[in-house]
């Protein structure tokens, strides 16, 4: 008698708890969700976030506000994100850039956080690196082969405009210098693509290391000639351009990728709400059109795929060890 009563009570409680938890999922998110951009308003990540936010808001049923927390090459925001509290910060989603977040591998940065401190939900966009020369530069009409032949004959003579040390563009160049015999180039550093474009078009430098989305227009305009894509597969926007691996036989992965993260220890049901909303927003044709018009790739990697990708990226950054140069 008592036993059956106990059984009933436990059944009731478990049913109640199930009800409560599903109720949480149903009225989550309760208010506006903050999408944290670790850079200033107006930059590439910020623009992409501001385009994505309305589509995400449509799926979540609440407004999504883009909040810029800038400074420290992203680390002012990332430092905060890694300490987000599952209860207090459950209405926050953060953007984490790969490979930029690996700046912590540089001992000079004195950071205690690692990628293990982030609760990754999934990818957002993926933009492979691309090397380009001027369209009217006759030395390199044969693409990467000509570039490699030229650098083999003239070490350090080829000048390349690239984003600063530690960036994806630099990473791709430095990786090539480590792996390809005789490939040594002079580097002119920038902290934005406008400077790189200006330098290449003016003939100050011979080559640019950048990302596909920034340069497709200059190729279409007939100002620049793509040399190689630093990816395992060709870019859908530049199907005739070979990958670095196709030409040299050595895979060189360079990319600027963005991932979305939530607070550590966020309950599974809330995590799933975010994840489903993100997936649905990424599948929205309106959003896809917007990213496509920027020649940017929507990236849906999640779960163990994303984990593997992140650890591979970490290995690559460690190969170059830019902080030891």
């Amino acid at each position: 008698m008592i036993k059956s009563l106990l059984k009933k009570i436990t059944l009731f409680i478990s049913a109640l708890s199930l009800l409560v938890s599903s109720a949480i999922a149903a009225d989550f998110p309760k208010g506006p969700v903050e999408l944290i951009v670790p850079w200033k308003a107006g930059g590439g990540t910020d623009r992409s976030a501001r385009i994505f936010a309305p589509f995400l808001a449509e799926e979540l049923g609440v407004p999504v506000n883009v909040v810029n927390i800038s400074g420290g090459g992203g680390w002012v925001a990332w430092g905060q994100m890694s300490k987000w509290d599952a209860k207090k910060d459950d209405h926050k989603i953060g953007l984490v850039n790969l490979p930029h977040v690996f700046a912590y591998l540089d001992p000079k940065m004195k950071r205690t956080e690692t990628v293990a401190d982030f609760n990754f939900i999934g990818g957002q966009t993926y933009d492979p690196c691309l090397w380009l020369v001027r369209a009217d530069d006759d030395r390199f009409t044969g693409g990467l082969k000509d570039v490699l032949a030229y650098t083999a004959k003239n070490p350090n003579k080829l000048l390349v405009s690239t984003t600063a040390i530690g960036s994806d563009d630099y990473q791709g160049l430095a990786f090539a210098e480590k792996k390809l015999k005789g490939f040594k180039v002079g580097k002119v550093y920038a902290n934005n693509d406008a400077k790189k474009i200006q330098e290449l078009l003016a003939g100050t430098t011979d080559m640019v290391a950048g990302n596909v989305s920034f340069y497709v227009n200059y190729i279409r305009e007939g100002k620049m000639r793509p040399v190689a894509v630093l990816d395992t597969v060709r870019s859908e926007y530049l199907p005739s351009v070979p990958t670095f691996g196709e030409v040299t036989g050595i895979e060189n992965l360079g990319f600027a990728a963005r991932t979305l993260i939530a607070a550590n220890g966020l309950p599974q049901d809330k995590y799933d709400v975010f994840k489903n909303a993100i997936n649905k927003a990424q599948a929205n044709p309106g959003y896809q059109l917007a990213e496509m018009s920027k020649s940017s790739r929507i990236w849906t990697a999640a779960g163990s795929d994303l984990k593997d990708f992140i650890s591979n990226t970490e290995k690559m950054v460690k190969v170059v060890e830019y902080w030891n140069q």
Partner: protein, 502 residues
């Protein structure tokens, strides 16, 4: 002929959508620009999701009008309470606020409006009619030219020290020193960051400006009698349009200011922030005995205000014709172009002339509209000058803090801003030029990176490289001429010090 083609798109302006976007862009730009700490790039970024729902022409008009008005809106707070709303109006804060203190706030705003509106219009006309032929000008600027231009800009320190040349140089060097803080672009080594993540990306210009000018002003006002007003008057004149004689008196200054803005605006990344200082320094050089530079000289204000809006239109030339955005604002506008399926570059003028020319007409119209709206807004804002200091000082301090925080959401930036504020207060008190420190902070990285780029591209032989480039030689000559005249003037002032002081 493209000039006639450009003119033929004028009537596209008269649609409800375009006019609505114009009004919205100008209003948002004026308001955000006027708040210290909030800058035009931020206002434009806020418009990204909105503009995405508009057709390309409307979306772009929304952004360019916000850009033009934001640039101008920054001058209001600069003139009225010495709190520049944008980095391009920092120089205006010096003469503008001194005029306000003399009770000439409305007169200062009148000249500022005239200089800005006409400067923007001229700049817009250059963009409309001469963009294709001027396209390649941006490509004349390489590392050597950036380095030399920064050096040329630094010579302005001599002028903006107002007689305290050694103190001015100390302030300038201090600014350059502060510009070295952060991770070095070339080696990846953190310099003077003391383990702080915020400092590792360098000292931002915005908190520095807000601190040196606005916050310092707030502190200074707190030290004086609470019931006094800045202008010493409690009534305002309402006439926002300048009289013909007023303009005639400053016409040469206006032309110099507009000229600086138009020419320097074309140079990506550096032009806009340098133009105002060069225009201002030029103006001081041209000054006559009896001019009140540094103590409220309307000619100085006319030049700085003319230059910062004079560069708005031309700074869009490299963005439209080459796809090279000169600054963050232009980069966001470029992003909007691309999202709407338009390709920046010469193709834009050939393939989508209706869009690009309508947008430029929109830019011109925005400059006129901004003048009209300013007439309304300036009257409201000018009330700040008849507000008792006891009320105004805390307001400036609050706005400085909130504006700085909203920009980056980084608490550390508030501390940086407040440090600059205390520094600025002390500098003003002991006659060290805050303008010189700011100039060092702005030009330091341009000079440093320019020189290091130059060393790489010239393969360690910069002199030979420089002497092969006519523009570099011209910049060197110009710098020499300025230094020569400054030195002569300095000697003359030393000799006649007694006479002037009497």
């Amino acid at each position: 002929m493209y000039i006639f083609e450009a003119l033929s798109y004028f009537d596209n302006l008269f649609s409800l959508g375009v006019l609505f976007c114009l009004l919205m862009g100008v209003t948002i730009g004026l308001v955000i620009g006027a708040i210290p700490g909030l800058s035009p790039p931020m206002a434009i970024a806020l418009l990204i999701p909105v503009s995405f729902n508009f057709p390309p022409t409307e979306a772009l008009i929304l952004m360019v009008s916000c850009y033009a008005a934001g640039m101008y809106g920054g001058s209001f707070s600069a003139i009225l309470i010495r709190a520049p709303g944008t980095s391009a109006s920092a120089a205006s804060a010096i003469e503008g606020f001194e005029l306000t203190k003399k009770g000439k706030a409305i007169q200062a705003i009148r000249i500022s409006t005239f200089a800005s509106v006409l400067g923007g219009l001229i700049s817009g006309l250059v963009l409309l009619l001469l963009a294709p032929p001027l396209a390649e000008v941006a490509l004349l600027f390489g590392p050597a030219e950036y380095f030399l231009m920064a050096i040329l800009g630094l010579t302005a320190i001599a002028s903006i020290s107002f007689g305290h040349i050694f103190k001015g140089l100390i302030a300038g060097f201090f600014g350059i020193f502060l510009s070295t803080v952060g991770i070095d672009l070339y080696s990846g080594i953190p310099r003077f960051t003391f383990g702080s993540a915020t400092l590792s990306s360098g000292i931002d210009i915005m908190p520095a400006i807000v601190g040196l000018f606005a916050f310092a002003q707030g502190l200074e006002l707190s030290m004086s009698k609470a019931q006094e007003t800045i202008g010493g008057n409690s009534k305002l004149s309402w006439n926002i349009w300048p009289k013909f004689e007023e303009i005639k008196k400053v016409k040469n200054s206006l032309f110099r200011g507009w000229g600086c803005g138009l020419v320097l605006g074309i140079i990506p990344a550096a032009g806009g922030s340098i133009a105002q200082w060069i225009a201002y320094a030029w103006e001081i050089q041209k000054g006559k005995v009896g001019d009140q530079f540094g103590k409220g000289e309307i000619k100085g204000l006319a030049a700085t205000e003319g230059s910062n809006n004079g560069c708005t239109g031309t700074s869009l030339i490299p963005m439209f014709t080459l796809g090279i955005p000169g600054g963050i604002s232009a980069a966001v506008i470029l992003g909007a172009l691309v999202i709407h399926g338009l390709q920046p570059g010469f193709g834009l003028f050939k393939n989508n002339p209706q869009v690009v020319y309508t947008v430029i007409w929109g830019f011109l119209a925005a400059n006129i509209l901004m003048g009209l709206l300013a007439a309304v807004m300036a009257r409201g804002m000018a009330h700040l000058t008849i507000m008792p200091k006891g009320l105004l000082a805390p307001l400036i301090i609050i706005f400085s803090i909130v504006g700085t925080y909203v920009n980056t959401n980084n608490i550390a930036d508030i501390w940086i801003m407040m440090s600059f504020g205390v520094l600025g207060y002390l500098m003003n008190k002991y006659k060290f030029s805050t303008g010189a420190a700011l100039l060092g902070l702005i030009l330091g990285p341009i000079a440093e990176n320019g020189l290091r780029d130059l060393m790489v591209v010239s393969r360690g032989d910069p002199l030979l490289y420089i002497f092969q480039r006519p523009l570099s030689i011209a910049l060197i000559l110009l710098t020499c001429i300025i230094v020569f005249y400054s030195a002569r003037q300095f000697k003359w002032e030393q000799k006649n010090k007694k006479i002037i002081n009497r």
